[in-house]
């Protein structure tokens, strides 16, 4: 039996495979395909104070080895979440984490206070890296002072585990990881999508209604991996690797580079069972290499 668990402080996860926010709905979309409770955790879609309709259609375009989206945090707001969604997601026997977003620091604080009261939500993923909203989102995650302010404000009132989701659209992502750690984040997750765009030559218009959008999928994996490696060396809190993970081998690259856990995102759109297949693949790899605990290979490449 291989130990696949990892911990954020005193919060234990039974395995390192987590589904990424905005790619897994509220879990129930996948109930026909997998047992969601087999996962290490699920990160629910980005939630805001007020309901949001998101950006106009078209807000997705396929690109080489990936896709651009500009969904823009469509969600029904925290009231709806508490009244309707929470009762369903709390039945999952996995770590259920909510991704929160705001236009202002007050929004983030208000959301964190609300979530603090929800017993079955042991952690927040603080989204300061959404590239598809005009206010908030990446605005916080690309300015060191704003990032510090919002993390500090949330940390002051939120007592459970705080994960900060970092933007790759910065000069040096390590600075933002360090700020997160200094301000009391319990973990960092990276990367959110890379800002990109596409033009439809047939219509001679931008492919997305918002012109720019966030690039995800295997196209961004090498960039994500490099950033995870840099950050893992620079901070002592757990790093959760995200970016174009399509199979167990991709996931293992992130873990070998220093990630304690990984998030599966866009891959779930193509194969709704992929998260479980990745989990099985990681276990098989550890067995074949003769390791008894996944912790033995976290950051393995840095020991050479």
């Amino acid at each position: 039996m291989v130990n696949l668990g990892f911990d954020i402080g005193d919060l234990h996860f039974k395995n390192p495979v987590i589904t990424a926010s905005g790619t897994f709905g509220y879990g129930s979309e996948f109930d026909d395909f997998i047992n969601v409770s087999d996962l290490g955790g699920i990160i629910l879609k980005g939630t805001t104070i007020e309901p949001r309709e998101g950006n106009p259609y078209p807000r997705m375009v396929e690109t080489a080895s990936g896709m651009l989206n500009s969904v823009g945090l469509q969600n029904k707001g925290i009231d709806y979440f508490e009244k309707i969604i929470y009762d369903k997601v709390k039945e999952y026997d996995t770590r259920v984490i909510i991704n929160i977003n705001g236009n202002t620091i007050d929004d983030y604080v208000a959301l964190a206070e609300r979530v603090n009261r929800l017993e079955k939500i042991p952690a927040i993923e603080l989204n300061i890296s959404c590239p598809n909203v005009k206010m908030g989102g990446m605005v916080f995650g690309t300015n060191p002072d704003s990032a510090r302010d919002v993390i500090r404000a949330v940390r002051a009132i939120y007592s459970k585990k705080l994960i900060v989701k970092l933007s790759p659209n910065v000069t040096n992502i390590v600075d933002f990881a360090r700020i997160s750690e200094e301000e009391g984040a319990d973990a960092v997750s990276l990367i959110n999508t890379l800002l990109g765009m596409a033009v439809d030559t047939r219509s001679m218009k931008p492919a997305l209604s918002t012109i720019t959008g966030g690039l995800s999928g295997p196209a961004i994996k090498p960039v994500a991996l490099r950033m995870v490696w840099q950050v893992a060396k620079a901070v002592s809190v757990p790093v959760i690797g995200i970016g174009g993970i399509m199979n167990a081998s991709d996931a293992l690259e992130f873990i070998l580079a220093g990630a304690s856990a990984i998030q599966v995102g866009t891959a779930s759109f193509i194969d709704p069972q992929i998260s479980i297949k990745i989990l099985e693949g990681i276990e098989k790899y550890l067995v074949s290499k003769g390791f008894l605990d996944i912790k033995e290979i976290i950051g393995y490449i840095n020991r050479l």
């Binding site: 905005g22 790619t23 897994f24 709905g25 979309e29 996948f30 026909d32 395909f33 879609k45 309709e53 998101g54 106009p56 259609y57 078209p58 807000r59 997705m60 375009v61 396929e62 690109t63 080489a64 080895s65 990936g66 896709m67 989206n69 969904v71 469509q74 999928g217 295997p218 866009t266 779930s268 759109f269 193509i270 194969d271 709704p272 069972q273």
Partner: protein, 255 residues
């Protein structure tokens, strides 16, 4: 009705005129119940520069012989790769997805309108309507005679009317310009095709207070309501084409 993810065997790849083809897929065990208007998401292997699954309408279902058919048009690299699949090979599908067309009230006069590859879901729908004692008329529009396909299949459902944009077969013009629309008053119209056509048909129906359902083909990634990419603007806000649709009543749509 549970969604499935399965690898299904191709019984036949039937090339039609121009860039159209039909794939017949055998059930992996017994095929699930499918409803007219529903679709499948196909994983396209061996197409290095495409990435996402392709959503394709269910064209016809044969429960007796345990297979179903997809009518596909080559529009890009994904569908081109798909067109080359051979009998005996397998395709990975997530299905059946989406809602379905609703049955009209008893005794309604029904018209099905399809344009180009948008005719695909109307065969399944037409057969379903026929088995429920409706006698739908069918109005199909194509670019030109070279692209007119499947007329004999649609004649099994009811009377078929035809337009081509250049007049090379049937009446000249768009479907909404066909003279048959002046001759008969329909209670229910079901429509699938390119967006400009859907909008014209919706306008026609609104002006005459005809109940109308359209099937949309918005760009989508997941097909199961997780990515929220395929939304359409409705009176209830942004709804997913993949789970709240693809069939919408025009009274709910904002366009």
């Amino acid at each position: 009705m549970a969604k499935r993810i399965e690898s299904l065997k191709i019984i036949e790849n039937r090339p039609l005129k121009k860039d159209y083809f039909i794939l017949d897929l055998a059930g992996n065990g017994k095929i699930p119940e499918m409803k007219p208007g529903q679709f499948v998401e196909i994983k396209i292997d061996g197409s290095p520069d495409t990435f996402l699954r392709r959503p394709i309408s269910i064209h016809d279902v044969n429960y007796g012989q345990n297979f179903f058919s997809l009518l596909i048009q080559i529009v890009g690299r994904g569908t081109e790769t798909l067109s080359k699949i051979k009998r005996g090979e397998t395709l990975n599908l997530i299905y059946p997805l989406g809602n379905s067309f609703s049955l009209p009230p008893k005794g309604s006069a029904v018209l099905l309108i399809g344009g180009g590859c948008g005719i695909a879901p109307l065969l399944f729908l037409g057969k379903y309507l026929k088995s429920n004692n409706f006698t739908p008329d069918v109005l199909l529009g194509f670019k030109n005679s070279e692209r007119v396909i499947q007329l004999d299949d649609y004649r099994q459902i009811g009377k078929v009317f035809l337009t081509t944009e250049d007049g090379s077969q049937g009446e000249k013009g768009f479907v909404t310009e066909h003279s048959m629309l002046e001759a008969t008053r329909y209670d229910n119209i079901y429509c699938c095709g390119p967006m400009p056509m859907l909008k014209e048909v919706a306008k026609y129906c609104r002006e005459r207070n005809i109940n109308c359902e359209v099937s949309l083909e918005n760009l989508m990634a997941c097909g199961i309501g997780a990515c929220l990419c395929c939304v359409v603007d409705t009176v209830k806000g942004h709804l997913c084409t993949c789970t709240d649709g693809p069939v919408f009543n025009i009274s709910d749509l904002k366009w």
